[in-house]
Every structure is written in C-alpha cells, then in structure tokens.
Symmetry: C2
Subunit: 96 residues, 2 copies
C-alpha cells in the first residue's frame, strides 16, 4: 500500500496468548476505547500510533500474538449497524 | 447518521452465545472472508447486506447476541498494519 493517506482513526483486533491478554488490553485501553471483546476503536493520530505500536511491541510475543490495526481517515468514513443486543460482554464500558 | 454513502465493503464482529456460534460463523462465511477469530471482512454491496442481515436474523438470539457491521466505501479507504504473527487464527475453530 503505497498510497499516502491521513489516518486519524483506528480499529484494533487482537488475538494474543492468554498470559499477555491483560497487558495488551491495558495498552489498547490507554490509547483507544474498548469496543467489543478483543476489539478496540478510537482516534489515532499518526504520532499516537507510533507510541501505541511501541507499547504493544513491549508486551507481545511476536511469534505467538497477532494484532491488526485498521486505520481510517476519521470516524465519518464508515457506517455502522448493530444487530442484536449488547449484554456488556466487555465487562467494561461498551462504547457503540 | 443520516449521510448517504455508498458502502461496498464491510468488517463484521460478533459476540454470540456458544450454541449459535457455528451458525453465525457459517452465515458470515457465506458472505465474507474470515479474518480473525470472530471478525470477518469482505465486499458487501447494499443488496448483499440485506440478505446477510436477513440470514443473521434467522440464527441469532436478539436478546443475547451482538453483531456489529462496520461499512466502508471500498477496500481502499483504510490502511492496515499487522503486528506479530498470524498463527492460523482463521483455523475456523478458534472462536473466542
């Protein structure tokens, strides 16, 4: 992807080993809002992204863990539909 | 969100009761590509979306389950970064 876009919003999904879940959760929580299970979202400027990735790299095992960051220009480039009901599966403040 | 945009791509996250996970997985798989754990993605035209939601509504329990569809114009409006390694998390059986 060589295109240059100005990304300022992100969705983050992770799939990490059990031992590191809490650490990764805390790093994500520091930068983003918890959205659903292992999904976070929120404003993410390029400079914030650098710090976020640096923090993640300190806690994950690169051989075992997988984290995907989907970057968007802002929160108005996507639409959202929810089906069903949120039973606060995050145990946190579920932000929809 | 009253804006009218032409969405043709989607990310789907779900958090559904254990008994319905396989059914929801199959519906998502019919329309999209499995991306990670309970996350799917792929082309999703407005008409396909109608069928997708109709199929989902047949299998979920609206009181218990939660499905979120993030709609994007196409697959070039987002950037993507992966940290770590995918250990075949799409092995179809890994649903957390």
């Amino acid at each position: 992807m060589s295109k240059k876009m100005n990304y300022n919003y992100a969705f983050v999904f992770y799939d990490v080993g059990e031992k590191r879940v809490n650490k990764v959760f805390k790093v994500c929580k520091k930068y983003l809002s918890h959205f659903q299970k292992s999904v976070f979202r929120g404003d993410m400027s390029p400079s914030k992204l650098i710090n976020f990735k640096s923090d993640l790299n300190k806690v994950i095992d690169k051989e075992e863990d997988f984290i995907c960051i989907i970057k968007l220009m802002n929160d108005s480039v996507f639409g959202e539909e929810v089906i069903g009901h949120s039973k606060n599966s995050t145990g946190e403040d579920l932000i929809i």
